[in-house]
């Protein structure tokens, strides 16, 4: 399977990456080279194989249902959460207008 410029433009749009024509032209053959390399996996019969979900057997833990059980990752951290925001306003993240 090979991707053309239009397909790359579609993927770039899905990935929210702005790309001009020249960039799309350059990326298409690079992606095709990588894709044709990974496509060799298709030659392996995996009908009876389960896809891996966890590389090391582990069990997922549940924490106690307590508010702010871990003070570091619990609530009450608004200022810290906003500290690196490019546009924090009135205790919120500022974004361009989304409703006309």
């Amino acid at each position: 399977m090979s991707v053309d410029k239009a397909t790359v433009a579609k993927i770039a749009s899905l990935a929210r990456l702005k790309m001009d024509d020249a960039e799309l032209e350059r990326m298409a053959p690079e992606l095709n080279k990588i894709l044709s390399f990974v496509e060799q996996l298709g030659e392996v019969d995996t009908a009876a194989v389960e896809p891996m979900t966890a590389v090391i057997p582990n069990h997922l833990r549940l924490r106690d249902d307590v508010v702010d059980a871990d003070p570091l990752t619990g609530g009450g951290k608004r200022d810290a959460v906003l500290a690196n925001a490019p546009a924090a306003e009135h205790g919120f993240f500022g974004v361009p207008k989304v409703i006309e």
Binding site: L17, V44, V55
Partner: protein, 495 residues
């Protein structure tokens, strides 16, 4: 007095504890080396000499007060700039995170500070840890302290993605450094620069506070000048962390105390599929040397087969970009980092403009690949198939480990190469990781130790892969190689 920057982790720790020298003297020595090398090697994105001195002063005061000292008391280290450090810029070598100062400290770095280590600075790396030569950093290439012996002085790759870490340790700018390994990012740069590095079992070191690349593969580990120093560092870095859902709830073994280069009764597997057509003759020779050394250490050598080896790299280049495309979706110009807001742009335009300006080419390439293989209609053919291959690759290892205790292989297919050599061909760059990726996909502990120099005067590394949770077996086989390789070469200081 000895030059303190010649000392490794164990020697510094012991010397500080005994009072042969102060932690401050050590920190001052390494701070000076960091500053002197910055222009030539570009190993650090940010130097933090004041942090190194503060930590050292605390250790010296504790010692004077007769308080117990930590495992790494007085040891200044370099921190890969992928670990969140509170109040100190953390960039993942990207423009999109330039200026980002975390409000919190990563678990691994906090553990190191708690053990008495100090921070010399944040080390350069490939952008978002994506690369094998440290040429994708927004903050410029790291130059290896090593040069070929042909007098040509071509700048060489320190490996990647932990290229700042490898260059700093090899150049005596730090006795040890943290690295992270997703497909070989600790082992390959260690091999390129004649140092040691270990990636532990997936889950040993908490991923909390490490900028995520491919979460099912990312593991932190130490890089240092020898096996003992790696063991000491790893003990301080590892341990259960409830803040990482994949963290292993297991006690941290006393790896340093358990070190032994006697491999009597151990079986070492030699995977025949790693002996590839057209293999570099000197790499093959180094592998044969390693086999002889482990035999000499008392081990029995066993031929083994890992039949799906050739599929490891293509499997990795589906799974890692897929996870990366998902992880990197968080960089949107809203919550932290760069924001690009062209005149009249709406929210969607802002996302796309921010990400276009903030990510480098290799990162974009991997996001596109990842988005493509996860997209509707292609998901099963690419991603599900890769996850099935991952099962088969892991199964190969578990079957082999029914017969052997550790596996020996080269770390990389070649020694270091000149910067720029592989930049135009992403696939050629990816092939660097052909020997390191399989153990990553299987979540296994693996380490690289130097074996010798090639004809060009550049280091080669041997890789030991172990059973899950058996870092001790890996370290011990590494030690057996180290004791017999007698690797004492170091880059001549030209910077």
């Amino acid at each position: 007095m000895t030059n303190l920057t010649e000392l490794g982790v164990a020697a510094i720790r012991d010397g500080v504890a005994k009072g042969d020298f102060t932690a401050r003297e050590v920190a001052e020595g390494f701070n000076a080396n960091v500053a002197a090398a910055q222009e030539a090697l570009n190993a650090f994105i940010v130097a933090t000499p004041e942090k190194a001195l503060e930590a050292a002063d605390r250790v010296d005061a504790d010692r004077a007060a007769g308080k117990p000292l930590g495992k790494l008391a007085g040891v200044p280290i370099g921190m890969k700039d992928l670990f969140a450090t509170k109040g100190v810029q953390t960039t993942a070598a990207s423009h999109i995170l330039e200026g980002f100062k975390p409000e919190y400290e990563s678990t691994v770095s906090q553990k190191l500070w708690d053990a008495g280590a100090g921070m010399l600075g944040k080390l350069n790396l490939d952008q978002f840890a994506m690369g094998s030569s440290n040429e994708t950093s927004y903050f410029g290439n790291v130059i290896s302290p090593w040069r070929r012996n042909d007098g040509g002085n071509a700048p060489l790759a320190p490996g990647g993605s932990s290229g700042g870490s490898s260059a700093a340790v090899a150049g005596r700018l730090a006795p040890a450094a943290t690295g992270t390994d997703t497909g070989g990012s600790i082992r390959q740069p260690a091999a390129f620069t004649g140092i040691s590095g270990i990636k532990p079992t997936y889950g040993r070191c908490s991923r909390w506070g490490i900028v995520a690349f491919a979460s099912s593969l990312d593991q932190a580990g130490p890089m240092a000048r020898d096996v003992r120093d790696c063991a000491i560092m790893l003990e301080a870095m590892a341990g259960f962390d409830p803040k990482d859902s994949t963290s292993l709830d297991l006690p941290v073994p006393a790896w340093e105390a358990g070190l032994s280069g006697d491999l009597t009764g151990k079986k070492v597997g030699i995977p025949r599929e790693y002996r590839m057509d057209g293999m570099d003759a000197e790499v093959a020779k180094a592998w044969d040397d390693g086999i002889a050394w482990l035999k000499d250490a008392g081990a029995e050598i066993v031929d083994i087969s890992l039949p799906h080896t050739k599929y490891a790299l293509p499997t990795y280049y589906i799974i890692a970009p897929a996870e990366a495309s998902s992880n990197l979706a968080r960089y949107d110009g809203v919550r932290y980092g760069l924001r690009e807001l062209p005149e009249g742009a709406n929210l969607q335009d802002m996302y796309a403009a921010t990400r276009a300006a903030g990510f480098g080419d290799e990162v974009k390439r991997r996001i596109l690949i990842g988005t493509y293989v996860l997209s509707a209609g292609f998901y099963d053919a690419y991603y599900t198939q890769a996850q099935k291959l991952r099962t088969l690759i892991a199964r190969d290892f578990s079957e082999a480990f029914e017969k052997v205790d550790v596996i020996l292989a080269p770390t990389t297919p070649t020694a270091s190469f000149a910067l720029g050599d592989k930049l135009d061909d992403p696939l050629a760059m990816y092939l660097n990781d052909v020997f390191s990726v399989p153990a990553s996909l299987a979540g296994l502990p693996a380490m690289s130790v130097p074996s010798g120099l090639n004809r060009e005067g550049l280091p080669l590394g041997l890789q030991v892969i172990g059973k899950a949770f058996d870092e001790q077996g890996v370290l011990n086989a590494g030690l057996a190689i180290e004791q017999r390789a007698g690797f004492a070469a170091r880059p001549e200081r030209w910077w």
